[in-house]
């Protein structure tokens, strides 16, 4: 196991009918900006529950955060924060709304010219202060409710980039699994795929003798595989929804990644597919991951075999055959959720591969747990997905 530091002070309030507790978690006399997305919270009743709970607070609203939230939209929210002198941000929605909220929280107090600096100069410019954030989570998927990471898309330049800071971790996150009841199939499927790949990025690397982290990671994968069909079959299955929601949170709150190598190359490549073609984040991961497993089968060999055996019960055949089976099982899992795993199924033309490869070449990026995936391997991985 590697040395590590771990601290996660987010307060989780989990369970049915827990949304009204939001009022107890926000300091009295706060001037709140409630941030949300496209209005689904109005049709499913969450908007009204929050409004009812927060009577007595000065409450402003900013709606219209997109999936893969836009820098340009966040900048408008930052203007509103400054104008209204808001001092608490409440995200009501899924991971996109929360990611936007994190960017707004840090951007509103940034002393520099442009908060995009946090993305562009991620390793030079650190967040120094941020407005406090609370979250009412309506969609299990990104894990953003219990971490300090945000991913934002800049439309004008077709860039999708991330930054992280403990200062943008939510003070609290309210997780009511009943929010799952009103989700469309597509968002449920995306949530399962997203959480699944979050685990894989922290697990499918190389062994460092960390049996507990491995078992926690495998525990999340197995639970997602079990609960996925249940949630898709019956949206009102509370237990399945709750297990889905808690698994998605645990998939990316830092715990399973503490003390072990991490990959994240699938995410980095996937972000480019979203940037160029607007494909749902989770679906880009389902496209890239099988290629990553295939092309990196040597450097990931031991963990791929362990993954095959412990997750899919694959114990027969040569190493290569077992790895092929593990990849096949992974594809079948995504397909069973209704998520295709090849580029043509999303009408992505071959030329996109060149464009994406060029980006990684320009940035001179080295991805993966060994920092040895250059633009050439990116090209090979994407060609595998044609």
């Amino acid at each position: 196991m590697y040395n590590f530091e771990y601290k996660n002070p987010v307060k989780i309030i989990f369970g049915k009918d827990s949304i009204p507790k939001v009022a107890d978690e926000i300091p009295q006399h706060s001037k709140i900006l409630m941030i949300y997305g496209g209005g689904s919270i109005k049709s499913n009743g969450v908007y009204q529950q929050v409004k009812d709970a927060l009577q007595g607070f000065e409450l402003h609203e900013f709606g219209g955060i997109e999936p893969n939230p836009h820098y340009e939209t966040c900048m408008k929210a930052i203007e509103m924060v400054k104008y209204e002198k808001v001092d608490f941000l409440l995200s009501v929605g899924g991971g996109s709304v929360l990611d936007a909220t994190k960017f707004i929280a840090a951007g509103a107090l940034y002393g520099g010219q442009d908060p995009w600096d946090f993305m562009k100069h991620r390793y030079e410019i650190e967040v120094q202060e941020a407005l406090p954030i609370g979250a009412v989570l309506t969609l299990p998927a990104t894990g953003s409710e219990m971490n300090g990471t945000t991913v934002i898309t800049r439309v004008s330049t077709q860039e999708k980039m991330a930054f992280g800071s403990p200062l943008v971790m939510p003070q609290f996150s309210i997780l009511d699994p009943k929010c799952v009841f009103s989700l469309p199939d597509r968002q449920v499927a995306n949530g399962f795929a997203d959480a699944f790949v979050h685990v894989i990025e922290q697990y499918l690397t190389f062994p460092v003798n960390s049996p507990l982290q491995d078992r926690f990671a495998e525990g999340i994968l197995l639970t997602l595989i079990e609960e996925g069909p249940k949630v898709l079959a019956n949206r009102n299955d509370y237990d399945a929804a709750a297990n889905f929601m808690w698994s998605a949170t645990m998939a990316l709150n830092g715990l399973i990644g503490a003390g072990v190598p991490q990959d994240w190359a699938t995410h980095m490549i996937g972000h480019e597919l979203t940037a160029f073609h607007g494909i749902d984040h989770a679906r880009t991961l389902a496209i890239v991951l099988p290629g990553m497993m295939h092309i990196r089968r040597d450097s990931k060999k031991e963990k791929l075999l362990q993954y095959g055996e412990r997750i899919w019960n694959i114990k027969q055949g040569s190493d290569d055959q077992r790895i092929d089976q593990a990849i096949q099982k992974t594809v079948e899992f995504f397909n069973s959720l209704g998520i295709p795993c090849t580029l043509p199924e999303y009408d992505v033309p071959k030329e996109t591969i060149g464009k994406i490869t060029e980006r990684f070449k320009t940035r001179d990026s080295k991805l993966g747990e060994n920092k040895d995936i250059s633009y050439k391997e990116v090209e090979t991985i994407l060609e595998d997905r044609l």
Copy 2:
């Protein structure tokens, strides 16, 4: 899954040679009281590492905290805290030292007559403030390094009681697995048994459809079973020591118990064995647990069968046979650590059962996840251990 709230802001600093980082975690100009036990930290070098790191701080010392730390000793430390106007407590040792530190932290700022009130009136009197605590953990076992619970023994009345408060959670805990290298067999064995039973108390109850919590709990149990023999065979196996240490922390930081029923009857009964006979805490658990499993085999049936299958690979036989095998395997595990599981092996006379039973009768306690273990069942459980 039950509704739950979970918040654990303890900063974990984990890994080899991490002790000098203590200096970065304590606020400048702090007046520190370093609290420790019987002096093993002097022979293994930890004491000197901490002293070296904290040059420049005003550093006071209070040594001599006992295993099963005494209220009477803590009260002397509280006097010293007040006299020296200490404003930061640093625990350097195992769970007993840290538990004492927690009691001292709350007791020093208590407005009432006697901080024993926190134990005696646990559900009426809450801790309102406490001095900040840091920890350098030298012995994996109790999990005290990542929770807000403390257990203290009052010698004069032969009472061993607990209280909990988020205010006594450490600000940080430094976990250097190399501290395991100098531990005697007995402390290693106790650490494994203690962590094992902590998991069992949160796992071996009744099913509430919480597959992720179950798998995390099982992951800790399996890791403890794997790593136990390694640590006992080779005290300098760093990886085994690290996996032991991290497992013990995860066993009792609230995570696996979030959203599920909890038992703790084994602990409550075990505390009495320590109170009357001074038996090591972990060993009292190893005595009581097999009796608990046996006597509660009906109410715990589903989880006992799951435990048998997933932890010990027991799949054959009738339910009762499988449960018997699971109990047998548990006893064999404790025995393999060098820990006996019956009362006569500790020279506990039969009369002690009467005394302990009488205590639970007087208190009118109802223990266990169903709150249905009265003094009568306590008697039956202890008689099973003769």
